[in-house]
Amino acid sequence: MKGISHTLISYLAAAVFLLAIWWGLALLLELPIVPTPDKVFVRLTDVFARDILEHAAYSLWRIAAGLGLAVCIGYPLGVIMGYFRQADRFLSPVVYLTYPIPKIALLPILMLLAGVGELSKILMIFLIIVFQVVVAVRDAIRTLPEERYYPLYSLGASLGQIFRFVILPASLPKFITAIRVAMATAVSVLFFTETFGTQYGMGYYIMDAWLRVNYLEMYAGILVLSVMGLLLFGIIDCFEHVACLWQRK
């Protein structure tokens, strides 16, 4: 299809563009902190099959679980806050007060309660991104004009039907935006969530490489993380394409 090859070309162009910037910067600075991409790629091919695939798989699982949890809890909460003014009046301050708490500072408590295993990592990702989902979904629904509900109200629709036919589709675009932002956040906080109690995961890999002042491996890890993010973004874009058919221009 023409569309797909178009997309590939533009992704390639973007990759080349970023590589060029990186290369330029590396040549300009001539410091081991900023190695040239070619060296990083060589290292990447060295370590890829051996290490990075496994790390990436762990990270993907944690992101998926954290994001899934955040959606499962955050979406209903956002819907309730967006639709019921009364609920919002009391829940908003709760969210406003808890959102800015640096979740990493709660790590000791989390570890005490949930151990050092997978659970605490997933919970940490969840804690960091659930607020983004809640706020975005709430705002999406709150800005829906009252009139959107009229056809359903006048048909005597139940709450479930109002959700199914109005709230869900109307908030979908904003929800997808929220997922995009939350997903990328989840990828970039791997860095803190995968540093304890594990030897696997891209976050661990990068942090370890950094600690060892092994900038080549660190950049190889960042590169993989970046491609991983791209793939996840691609999945979300495809989902949007299918789910928001009515918005296609």
């Binding site: 009229y150 056809p151 109200y153 006048s154 048909l155 005597g156 036919f165 109307a170 928001c244 009515w246």
Partner: protein
């Protein structure tokens, strides 16, 4: 004057006053102290100047605006869209942009849990209706891909397919050309003659009111109120359409409306 409810009245407005909360200030009442009854199985046409509160009246029946005082009763009880099937066709059609034409049409039935996709009789009824409304080829389009008149007919189709207890139609034929309009009026009349749905119909056309409404309510503005209600013997009788009586009646009615309007203009100037 105490207001009495007739047991056969399907819709009854009882000293209804509605005021919109505006962003800044307390707006004037959109409709003030309106009392009107529509007997079971009749069509009541509402005519009135723009902004006099016709749409507000329909919204009140559909439970979309809360009265400031007074109330709306359906069959003697509180107007509750969960209890009665209300086919409400708003002025802006009320189509859901994320649903296709087909989904939009069956929406009412789905909400009321009596749509079974694929069941032959349901599908046949849908196909018949869409054909009658000349929207048979548009089933998979989204509303924003339709012309104005096509959107209006989709909205009509939704209300008709629902087989409602009460039909509320806000200028249902306004975006249609004369020929299509007459066809649609006949589709409505056929439906009505089958099921005798109690109907409130807002229209700007005296002929339409006379043709469809057994009862005609004239409204006046500032504040929105009922100026006069009268029975129309010609309403619902297609065969009368070309008659001399029809012509005379429409002329008389037009004069009356002009009178109300002039009187109001005079009041406005005086105040």
């Amino acid at each position: 004057m105490k207001w009495h409810m007739n047991p056969t009245d399907m819709i009854a407005f009882d000293h209804l006053t509605v005021r919109y909360r505006s962003a800044e200030c307390a707006a004037a009442a959109a409709i003030a102290d309106v009392s009107l009854t529509v007997p079971q199985g009749t069509v009541c046409a509402i005519i009135g100047p723009s902004g006099c509160g016709k749409s507000t009246l329909l919204r009140a029946v559909a439970g979309l605006v809360q009265p400031e005082s007074g109330c709306v009763k359906i069959a003697g009880g509180k107007a509750d869209p969960k209890k009665y099937r209300i086919g409400f066709m708003p002025q802006n059609y009320g189509l859901l942009p994320w649903q296709t034409v087909r989904e939009n049409i069956v929406l009412g039935c789905r909400i009321r849990h009596d749509w079974h996709a694929g069941r032959e009789e349901d599908e046949a009824r849908l196909a018949r209706l869409m054909a009658a409304l000349h929207i048979e080829g548009l089933a998979t389009r989204y509303p924003h891909e339709l012309s104005g008149g096509q959107q209006q007919r989709v909205s009509l189709a939704r209300s008709f397919l629902l087989q409602p207890d009460i039909l509320l139609m806000d200028e249902p034929f306004s975006a249609l050309d004369a020929i299509t309009r007459e066809e649609m009026q006949d589709v409505f009349l056929a439906l009505w003659q089958e099921q005798h749905v109690t109907t409130l119909l807002v229209t700007h056309y005296v002929e339409e009111a006379l043709y469809l409404g057994q009862k005609i309510a004239l409204m006046a503005a500032d504040p929105g109120r009922i100026a006069r209600v009268f029975d129309n013997p010609l309403g619902g009788h297609p065969e009368q359409r070309g008659s001399r009586e029809f012509f005379e009646m429409s002329r008389a009615l037009r004069e009356e409306i002009r009178g109300i309007s002039a009187q109001h203009a005079g009041e406005g100037a005086a105040s």
